[in-house]
Every structure is written in structure tokens, then in C-alpha cells.
């Protein structure tokens, strides 16, 4: 079974008025899920993925998300 991958990410407003990053994960069966990251976790995800922008997260393995969520 193929590993889920990050399909994209967009900025959205958080409950407290700070910007958050909504990361969309695509599963092998065609299903999608979203994970919302605050600024610190989003920055860590970009670093871990060597990405300079949200667009460059596309195609990254979902396990990158686990690392930042466990912080």
C-alpha cells in the first residue's frame, strides 16, 4: 500500500486570529484528510521538508507531519 502524501497546504485563520496552515493529506484509496498546524509547527514542517513555500510541501510523505505533531 502506498504511503499517504501531502497534497497541498493553505493558510487559514485560527480561532485566536493567528494564521494557521491547513495541510491536506491524500491517501492511497483516494480519500483526503486535513491537519491544521500553528506557526511553529508549520515552520518545522517546512524545515523538515526543505520547503520554502507551502506549494513545495506537495508530494511530501505524511510522516513528516507526525514529527511536527509530536513536538
Amino acid at each position: 500500500m502506498a504511503e499517504p502524501v501531502i497534497d497541498g497546504a493553505i493558510v487559514a485563520p485560527g480561532h485566536d486570529g493567528q494564521a494557521v496552515l491547513v495541510v491536506r493529506v491524500r491517501h492511497d484509496n483516494g480519500g483526503f484528510d486535513t491537519v491544521t498546524l500553528d506557526a511553529d509547527r508549520a515552520r518545522k514542517l517546512l524545515e523538515d521538508c526543505a520547503a520554502e513555500s507551502a506549494e513545495q510541501l506537495r508530494g511530501q510523505p505524511w510522516r513528516r507531519l507526525l514529527t511536527v505533531l509530536e513536538r
Binding site: 493558510v11 487559514a12 485560527g14 480561532h15 493567528q18 494564521a19 486535513t34 491544521t36 515552520r43 517546512l46
Partner: protein, 553 residues
């Protein structure tokens, strides 16, 4: 003789039934007559011709715990027609709280609800530890009614001390928490609040998050003895986990016969299926007989930022985001560099398209004349572009200028209107009194009428009034409030249905020691009456009356 007669009003009684014209009589703090024509022989006669006479609005999600101790009118909530507030939400309350735990809890309030030191330090005397004594400190001070929740976090701190921040509770500790919660409820708490999300000042989970399900179940059992509310902050950033929390709350509701509510639930184009999926599960659980009320706010959500921090607002602009993440000195040097500046502007305004930043507003600046203005017009005055103005203004104030990108989420009326009208949705989640240096948490009731009754017609006037009066009192079990009926408490708001709205957001320096917060005044509200006493009027402003009570006591 009646104390007050309100004449010629369009009475919207909070039941959702059609409005009718008539007079309203008040005596001894209660409604004595509703409808018909009353003689004008009263101590005070108010002409409500052309205006709506409704029950006072009830705000079920606030953080006025501290403010009520130095501002018993909870300004400016009262002038919007809010006559009852629920506070102590999100696991945080100022009681029960041992003296030695005050500094930690205050830091949590500051971290989570963004309240300044001055709101706690010296603004009032800490004269209590137990819940009953906290309520005693409020009595006689408050101009509106208070419906206090006991917070799970201070409950754990009281029983477990420092271990509350580290581990699950042992059976004897759970029993002690049950006894403590029981005492809070006997004193007048309307329920228990807990959180699965919030972090303390060290960015560690707040104590309530260390509770195992057995602990919450035991506390819910105590709530069941009183039929009281459990309020929860779920992991709202994940639809799947929120749905799971709905199921958990439903089981607690069914097992112990209690109402539950969770907040926030908000709509975002980034996760368009979030609200539909959560609501679908809520409906399934209501069909089973559980009570799991999602709280939904009326106002849209803005994003605020300064260049001092690397806000995700800039993540679509890699050059900006990279520089903003740099150490401060390096960042400042680059922002002042002409070549870098040109690169940043070119990236933000490709081909001369200045639309990205043009509608950003200045949220906070030392120059008061800039506050509230759009970058596009400031840029035109300065002979630069919006991106140039963003950089210039920031550098002129050492990156201290804050900007606002308005209505970035929960902003589509065609989605929010039907949501607010849904019978399973509890209109609330204002967060009144919190996040005060980021945005104004007042006026959501006026916005309900201006945006969703008048403009969008998603709710009738009667339906909207019912959602924030009769429904709220019923959901929370606030006896004698929320309806205009003889014998009920005389909590009344008189407003113009054609103009009621929230005012513009503006900074105010009215916190203790002159601290700043964002506020909104009311539009279209004429008179606010609490327990039969006029507490605010459009013509006279705030009065000295302090008629507020603890609703459940």
C-alpha cells in the same frame, strides 16, 4: 405602582413566536405584565415606539472572570444588550483556587486568553480561595447577571498541586475533585469547563488535558447530580478528533443526564467539510437523546500580524517568509536594504498588481491617525505601493505596527447564516473579554441582526432573538430568564431592528493602568435593563446600578 413601564413596543418574547405590539410592566425586578396597554403611572416610563422589546441577551462563552471584579458592567458587552454572561470557560476559572496557585493560573489566563498582567495584578483584591467566596466577591459589584463555570484546571491544581501539570489523577484524587466540584455547584456554578487543546505559558498542556476519561466521567457524574453543563474545548483543528469528542460528550450526556457544549466550531474554506461532518454527528447524537450543543460564533475571523513575527500569512511569499523567520537584527537589516526591499515588493506585487496588501488595515500603531485605515490609501498618500507602505510603517515603529487581514474565515454568509439558524446550533463562542489585544470580542449579537436577519434574511427577527435568549436559558438551565413572561426576571433590551449592529472595531485604553484593548460599541441599542434596573441607555450611558445576580444561586 410599577417601577418601569415600557410603552408601545414590538414585543419579541424569546420563544420564537411572532412579535406583537404592547406594553411591558416591571415591578420588584420582575416582569409583571407583558402585552396590552398599561397606565402610565410608573416610576419610569420608557417609550419604545418603533423599537423591539426583547429579553436581555445571554452570552454563553465569555472570560470576564477577572474583569467583573474591576468592571462589574463588563464593558462594553452590557451596552450591546447582554444581560447575562457565562464565564469560567475553557477549563479556566478564578475559583476554586488556592493562594499559592494564583501566579500559575494567571499565567495560563494570559497565555490562552491573551489578557495583560494589569487585568489581574492590583486591579482587585484576591479575597477568596473557594468558589462560594469568589461569588461573594462578585455580589453587589455586577451590573449584569453571571452564570459561572468551575474550571477543570484549577480543580486539579487544588487537589493535585504541581502534579496536576504532570499526570492522571489517582482514585482518591478523583474523589476529592468530585467533592470540590460538588461544593462549587452547591455555591452556584452552572457547570464544569474543560479543554483538550490549550497550552500554558510554557507551551505545555494545561492540567485538564492530563485527565483520563475516568476522571471526566466521575466529574460528569457530579454534574449529573445537579443536571449541570459540561463545556469542552475539543481539538477543533481536526475534524476527525472533533467528531470523536462529539461521541464522547454524547456518552457522558446519556450516562449522567447532563447537557454538554463544545466550542469553537467555525467554518473555513480551507476545510469546507468540517462543519457539515461535525453537525451530522451532532444530529445523530441528538437523535439518540444526547445533548451535545456546538457553539458557533456570528462574527467572521480575521488574521492579525506584525513583521516582528513570521506569521503564516506570508507563507505563500517565500522571500517574505524566509526573511521574517530570521533573527531580529538580521531581519531588520535586510528589510532596510534597498535591494531586498525591491525584491520583496516585486514578489508581493508581481507585474504591478497591488491587490495582495491593498486592503490590509492598520490594526495598531503609535500613530493613532493610521489605525483602521487601509494600506492602499496610506500607500497612495505616501507615493508608494501597499507592500512598500507595509515595510515603511513597520520599520518606522521597529516592527511594532500590527496589521489586519479582515474576514479570512467563517466569513461566507451563505454558509454561516443557515448554520446559525440550525436548531442544533447554539449561538455563542464570543470569547467576550478574551484575546483583547488581538480583536474585539463584543457586538456579536448586533452582528447577528445586521448580517443574518436584515442583510441575509437567514433568520427571522423572532428566531434570532430566541437563539440568544430563550434557547440559551433553556440549554444552560437558567431558570426565570430568557423569556418575556410575567414573573420572569426583568432582563430586557430595547433596540431598533433596522439599525442594531456592532460598531467599528477601535483600540481603547481603558484596561487597568491604561492598558489597550480592542472594543466595539453598540449601534441601534436603546436601553438595557437588568433585574428591573436600567443599567445602560443610549442617551444616558452606563448607570450606577449594580442589579446583577448569580443566576443559579
Amino acid at each position: 405602582m410599577l417601577d418601569i413601564v415600557i410603552r408601545n413596543g414590538r414585543i419579541v418574547d424569546g420563544t420564537g413566536l411572532p412579535a406583537f405590539h404592547g406594553d411591558l410592566g416591571i415591578a420588584g425586578g420582575r416582569l409583571s405584565r407583558v402585552g396590552g396597554q398599561l397606565p402610565a403611572s410608573a416610576r419610569q416610563v420608557i417609550d419604545a415606539g418603533g423599537q423591539v422589546v426583547a429579553p436581555g441577551f445571554i452570552d454563553p462563552h465569555t472570560h470576564f472572570d477577572a474583569q467583573l471584579l474591576w468592571d462589574g458592567q463588563a464593558r462594553p458587552a452590557l451596552e450591546h444588550g447582554v444581560t447575562t454572561v457565562v464565564h469560567g470557560n475553557c477549563s479556566l476559572s478564578l475559583a476554586p483556587l488556592k493562594a499559592e496557585h494564583r501566579p500559575r493560573l494567571v499565567k495560563m489566563f494570559q497565555q490562552i486568553e491573551e489578557m495583560p498582567d494589569a487585568a489581574f495584578d492590583g486591579a482587585f483584591q484576591w479575597a477568596w480561595e473557594g468558589f462560594a467566596d469568589y461569588l461573594a466577591a462578585l455580589r453587589g459589584r455586577v451590573a449584569l447577571n453571571v452564570a459561572p463555570l468551575a474550571g477543570h484546571t484549577p480543580l486539579r491544581m487544588w487537589v493535585m498541586g504541581a502534579d496536576a501539570h504532570k499526570r492522571a489523577a489517582k482514585p482518591d484524587e478523583i474523589r476529592a475533585m468530585q467533592d470540590l466540584l460538588r461544593a462549587c455547584l452547591e455555591a452556584g456554578a452552572v457547570g464544569l469547563s474543560t479543554s483538550y487543546v490549550d497550552m500554558d505559558e510554557n507551551l505545555a498542556p494545561v492540567p485538564s488535558r492530563y485527565a483520563h476519561s475516568e476522571e471526566l466521567d466521575a466529574l460528569a457524574a457530579v454534574l449529573g447530580e445537579f443536571g449541570r453543563m459540561l463545556q469542552v474545548v475539543p481539538e477543533f483543528y481536526s475534524t476527525d478528533v472533533t467528531v470523536a469528542r462529539v461521541d464522547q460528550l454524547a456518552e457522558l450526556s446519556l450516562a449522567h443526564g447532563i447537557p454538554t457544549t463544545f466550542s469553537p466550531l467555525f467554518d473555513s474554506s480551507a476545510v469546507p467539510d468540517n462543519v457539515p461532518r461535525v453537525l451530522e454527528r451532532v444530529a445523530e447524537q441528538f437523535a439518540r437523546g444526547a445533548r451535545v450543543w456546538p457553539q458557533v460564533q456570528t462574527r467572521p475571523i480575521d488574521i492579525s500580524f506584525s513583521l516582528d513575527m513570521a506569521s503564516l500569512y506570508f507563507i505563500q511569499l517565500p522571500m517574505w517568509y524566509m526573511i521574517l523567520r530570521m533573527p531580529r537584527a538580521q531581519k531588520l537589516a535586510l528589510l532596510r536594504n534597498d535591494g531586498t526591499r525591491k525584491g520583496l515588493i516585486d514578489a508581493a506585487e508581481p507585474g504591478g498588481d497591488t491587490s495582495r496588501f491593498a486592503r490590509l488595515r492598520v490594526r495598531d500603531s503609535h500613530d493613532a491617525s493610521l489605525i483602521g485605515r487601509m494600506l492602499g490609501e496610506i500607500a497612495a498618500e505616501r507615493g508608494t505601493t501597499p507592500a512598500g507602505a507595509l515595510l515603511d510603517l513597520s520599520l518606522e515603529e521597529d516592527l511594532g505596527v500590527h496589521f489586519l487581514a479582515a474576514s479570512m474565515g467563517h466569513e461566507d454568509p451563505s454558509r454561516i447564516g443557515p448554520l446559525l439558524a440550525n436548531d442544533l446550533v447554539h449561538v455563542g463562542a464570543s470569547d467576550g473579554g478574551a484575546h483583547i489585544q488581538s480583536f474585539a470580542t463584543y457586538g456579536d449579537t448586533g452582528y447577528l441582526f445586521s448580517e443574518f436577519v436584515r442583510a441575509g434574511r437567514y433568520l427571522s427577527l423572532e428566531h434570532a432573538v430566541r437563539k440568544i435568549t430563550g434557547d440559551t436559558a433553556q440549554i444552560w438551565g437558567l431558570p426565570g430568564r430568557g423569556l418575556l413572561r410575567p414573573g420572569m426576571a426583568a432582563d430586557v433590551v430595547i433596540f431598533d431592528p433596522d439599525t442594531i449592529a456592532r460598531g467599528d472595531e477601535r483600540p481603547a485604553h481603558d484596561m487597568p493602568e491604561g492598558g489597550m484593548r480592542y472594543v466595539r460599541g453598540a449601534r441601534g441599542v436603546d436601553t438595557v435593563i437588568v433585574n428591573g434596573a436600567v443599567t445602560w441607555s443610549a442617551t444616558g450611558g452606563y448607570t450606577d446600578a449594580r442589579p446583577g445576580v448569580i443566576t443559579s444561586a
